[in-house]
Symmetry: C2
Subunit: 648 residues, 2 copies
């Protein structure tokens, strides 16, 4: 046992030495904890790394990637020794921080501190929901634990505190978080930055707390995990450790992020009586993992497959739904369940989304979500009551005023194949940005719904009026931002989000009414932009999104009637989708020959010069006042914009 | 006393009724707490609302604005009854949420939950630092309390937890936070979202905790505040209250954000035996505030002015420095203290900033700051040791891994006239965005320094490599984002930030070396863009920022030497500053006649079409690998870009 831990340690620092980059401190310190977890607890099958009912492990302290990769290699995942030698090299299987979807056995991308614990909460929540939804007597078809390993930094992050508070409130008892407690962080002793009483803090949030006092005491950790498995609360295990254990600088922050170096590593081998050369791994180490982790997981997987076959016979309808979730099939007829919205419908698109969620949720058990204490305003509310310890099938999650954790929890649930969605005021997308980014980086289809999308918010004023948030999201890679013009576009946007597989979707909605002035089919909508209304002899183009499409149509009308000027109106619900179109489609909608173009949007103008030489936007903060007065004060009236166009 | 509280309540709901918009719940519930604070504790002079040594009050629950305005009116601030009647109307003195700099007596903009408490922490930190720095025996020239009132929502926000943990660690004993504890939030009972043991949680972070059990018990609150004033820790006072007190829906979430209505308000007047008509205020109410709050503050202000005169005589040098801080004078000769950097200097701009901070700090006692557990990497570290309970003049703040609170605390310190600066990896600007936005909205000159500014980060990979962050910040109104090309531009950027008065500055720096390939003076730099190197017969323009300027110069050279193509290179350290220039300056640097323009930046391309028809950017996430290999893999080599330009 001790030997295997040493092998993990040296493999990790050999990798870091080879790369001349990485974080040896946690590798040396936390190797026993990770070893214990994989050897004796984690239930997963390296041959079937995507097994739906596996235990998940979130390495919240993502800078411990070398330790994770070394463990996954020994544990039989599809990571060769050669991959370990390529640690942190371009296009290797072993990048600097763990990347979900890139390396087998990596359950999430981590590195930005705080995200890992919060995603683990989401994952445990998903497990709790799915097990309540699909298990039957004698069929614990969903039944697994969610583990996380975090460091001091994670616990200092607010998002972790938000998420732990939720997890305690919801009694997510199958969530087990280990805290690699080494009293050191990058800038020195942890005490420099915090002297929280962690036990007291954790208990105040309704978690169990266990302390593994002696560094490297895997037996004590084992006992703590066993207790945790049989609890009615989430469990937090503080595992004391020594950062950079065994190196000459052990216990010092110097070991956090600088390679030990070949020479000192060699001296360490001497001192610690470790007989193997760099990257040398004795067969017995593989064997140990094979006989413990490997066998346990393979057996469990085989058992589960048998159970699934019986489950199919006994509960076919549930089986079918569950398989759809596992295989990420969305096999429903959107057109019949959420039909297109009639021409002339006048509705705030936040109300539309509420209806869509209600209509679609009964068909898709994977739909679950909620708002950050704003359901009354956002209308983003899951069905079947509040998810709670006494209603595990409730699909509305009361996130409280915890936007950041909400977004990370949505990601954690999405990692468990749920179609999870959040709701909030658009201006507070800022609070969620780190988690939204991570969903995009992981290529998972989280859905983030926002309402109150512009200065039209009115009375609440500039603190509550988004201006630059659209630009922030449209420039985030691998994310689809949609700002629908009306109820019908909102319908398409939601269909798009619920069908998405490899990208998160942001949907940005109004508080105020908009009208379905024209129709567009889903296929055209998916191109990101389309001609809302054309006129013959067109001598200009108005490009608009969201509530400004209706305004643009008024401008068009006014220019025609009062000035004999004929322009095209393009609705562009998604800049990203449009930019992904072939040139000829882009050219058809916005012909390069037509250079007189005006983009109209109640938000920052800077990104719009991609499409137009003139932009009617808002490049200052909003104002408090009656909605229509605020809008008018920024010049967003048909008259004013028509005038502007004529003077362009 | 009871009558004055009723007057505050009814004034508040009359305002909300008049606006038909606002949040009566907190007005009715928290009126006693705010009343008690202003009547018996808060030391401020309504005739001198900017008095430097006043107590500050952060209404973290900014939606209680009506209560604050009503109180400020009664307390004698420059808010007329007519202003109250204009609550939430366009351009009124009484916008939907309190706005700093807009309304006398408002100590900060609040509304986005969590920010208020964190800014209060920063303010208390500033007081602690300034008092240690400037007080002398018999001269407590800086000596005041910082108060905040927060709600359930604030406490659910992670940023509040981060900030409270820091405040407890640093023993900011003159910080007093009242918690309006009404057990209700927008989506229903608070218990739906949280069942934290608040006392235990607060104590775990080394705060005092007091409970005012009975709603409206101002005497108990008075005692708790008195205790708090004489403590060696920050104090948290949970004040039980009843949301919407007195209305028919009291105790229900319905009262949170919907006006009570004229009819029900009239019924309330009956039920509560409140004799005054809407907006009617008896003279005795004014008189009570005048004789308590008003007199106390006026006397204290007069005393302080006397003390200041003596202080001037006794400690002229300190007096001079303090007055500079109070009057926001930066009267130093930047050129001699931080001279321009020599041509040819090769340096990572993160190293430059470290030197600049060290050179400038001794001259400017208002400079204070630190990093989020990354000083070793960012080099952003204040001088004179760590600020701590036993070193209150330390100017380095160990923020821990708490980026969000860091930014909010910077704002709180800046509100106290300090030149406060933060340090962090650029990708984690995401974590700080809500607070950065708020600094811009408040028009205060916070300085946010970021390093590791692109995919050049290398091995740490995409989780640590910013792509879209420049776009996010450049589109944020009233913010100046600067990405300097080299050590000399960094010097200018820092001078700019330290001289700024009405806008926050973001400085974005490299991890890798860059060279001072050319010089520019400060005045030209401040225009946001300038010609780095021109060639005759110019037939195109390369626009670049940061480390890409050097690259652009190589491209220029290559085009000339190998292809006889002559282009101009424009360095554009700040898009915002350039866009603020008169058209003729813009035209001189980027002439509209020269249409062949390429923008080069290792970040999202979308915003660059404002200046160029072609953009060589990065619109996907980064990669883990050796820095130069990662950069090359994105095509950022002189050869490749020259080729690209030729094919444009």
């Amino acid at each position: 046992m001790e030997k295997s831990i040493q092998i993990l340690r040296f493999l990790g620092i050999d990798m870091i030495n080879a790369a001349n980059s990485g974080h040896p401190g946690i590798v040396l310190g936390a190797a026993p904890a990770v070893y214990e977890l994989y050897r004796n607890h984690l239930m997963a099958d390296p041959k079937n790394p995507d097994w739906f009912n596996r235990d998940r492990f979130f390495l919240a302290a993502g800078h411990g990637s070398a330790l994770l990769y070394a463990t996954l290699h020994l544990a039989g995942y599809d990571i060769a020794l050669e991959d370990l030698k390529q640690f942190r090299q371009l296009d290797s299987l072993t990048p600097g921080h763990p990347e979900y979807g890139h390396t087998a056995g990596v359950d999430s991308t981590t590195g930005p501190l705080g995200q890992g614990v919060a995603m683990a909460v989401g994952n445990a929540l998903a497990e709790s929901y799915l097990s309540a939804k699909f298990n039957h007597k004698d069929f614990k078809i969903i039944d697994h634990y969610t583990y996380a390993l975090c460091g001091d930094g994670d616990l200092q992050e607010g998002v972790t505190m938000e998420a732990m508070s939720i997890a305690g409130r919801l009694r997510l008892n199958k969530l087990i978080v280990m805290f690699d407690s080494n009293d050191i962080q990058l800038d020195g002793p942890t005490d420099n930055a915090t002297n929280d009483n962690i036990e007291q803090k954790v208990r105040s949030m309704n978690w169990n707390y266990h302390l593994v006092k002696k560094p490297n005491d895997v037996n004590a950790l084992n006992k703590a995990i066993e207790k945790a498995k049989n609890s009615d609360k989430p469990t937090f295990i503080e595992v004391k450790s020594i950062i950079g254990y065994g190196s000459k600088d052990q216990g010092k922050s110097e070991t956090h992020g600088s390679p030990i170096g070949v020479e000192e590593t060699s001296a360490m081998r001497e001192r610690m009586g470790f007989e193997y050369k760099p990257f040398e791994i004795p067969d017995e180490a593989y064997l140990e993992f094979k006989n413990t982790f490997g066998k346990r997981g393979a057996d469990a997987y085989a058992e589960w497959m048998k159970m699934l076959a019986k489950y199919k016979d006994s509960y076919f309808e549930d089986y079918r739904k569950l398989i759809n979730i596992i295989e990420k099939n969305i096999e429903i007829d959107f057109d019949s369940i959420i039909p297109q919205v009639d021409l002339g419908t006048k509705e705030a698109t936040r109300n539309t989304i509420g209806k869509l969620i209600n209509a679609l949720s009964p068909e898709l058990p994977e739909m679950i979500g909620g708002s950050a204490d704003l359901t009354a305003s956002t209308k983003v509310k899951g069905i079947d009551g509040n998810f709670d310890f006494d209603n595990r099938i409730g699909r509305n999650i009361n996130f409280g005023v915890r936007e950041h954790a909400m977004a990370a929890i949505i990601n954690g649930m999405t990692l468990h194949n749920l179609k999870a969605f959040s709701g909030g005021f658009f201006v507070f997308a800022d609070y969620m940005k780190p988690a939204i980014r991570l969903s995009a980086l992981m290529s998972i289809p989280s859905t983030f719904i926002f309402t109150h999308d512009s200065v039209a918010v009115g009375e609440d004023g500039p603190t509550h009026e988004p201006v630059e948030q659209l630009a922030m999201l449209r420039t985030t890679p691998n994310l689809t931002t949609i700002r629908p013009a009306n109820a019908n576009e909102t319908r398409h946007a939601f269909r798009f989000a619920m069908s998405a597989l490899t990208k998160p979707t942001v949907i940005v909605l109004t508080r105020q009414n908009t009208t379905v002035t024209h129709k567009v089919n889903y296929e055209t909508f998916r191109q990101g932009a389309y001609i809302a209304k054309d006129l013959e002899n067109c001598e200009g183009i108005l490009i608009a999104t969201g509530s400004e499409v209706e305004l643009a149509l008024s401008v068009q009308e006014k220019l025609k009637k009062e000035h004999n000027v004929y322009v095209r109106v393009v609705s562009m619900p998604s800049v990203e989708l449009f930019l992904a179109q072939p040139k000829e489609i882009q050219e058809r909608i916005i012909p390069s020959s037509c250079t007189k173009r005006l983009a109209i949007e109640m938000g920052a103008s800077l990104t719009w010069y991609r499409f137009a030489n003139h932009v009617f936007g808002i490049d200052r903060f909003g104002k408090s006042g009656k909605s229509n007065e605020v809008i008018a004060s920024f010049g967003f009236t048909a008259e004013n914009i028509a005038e502007y166009f004529l003077n362009m």
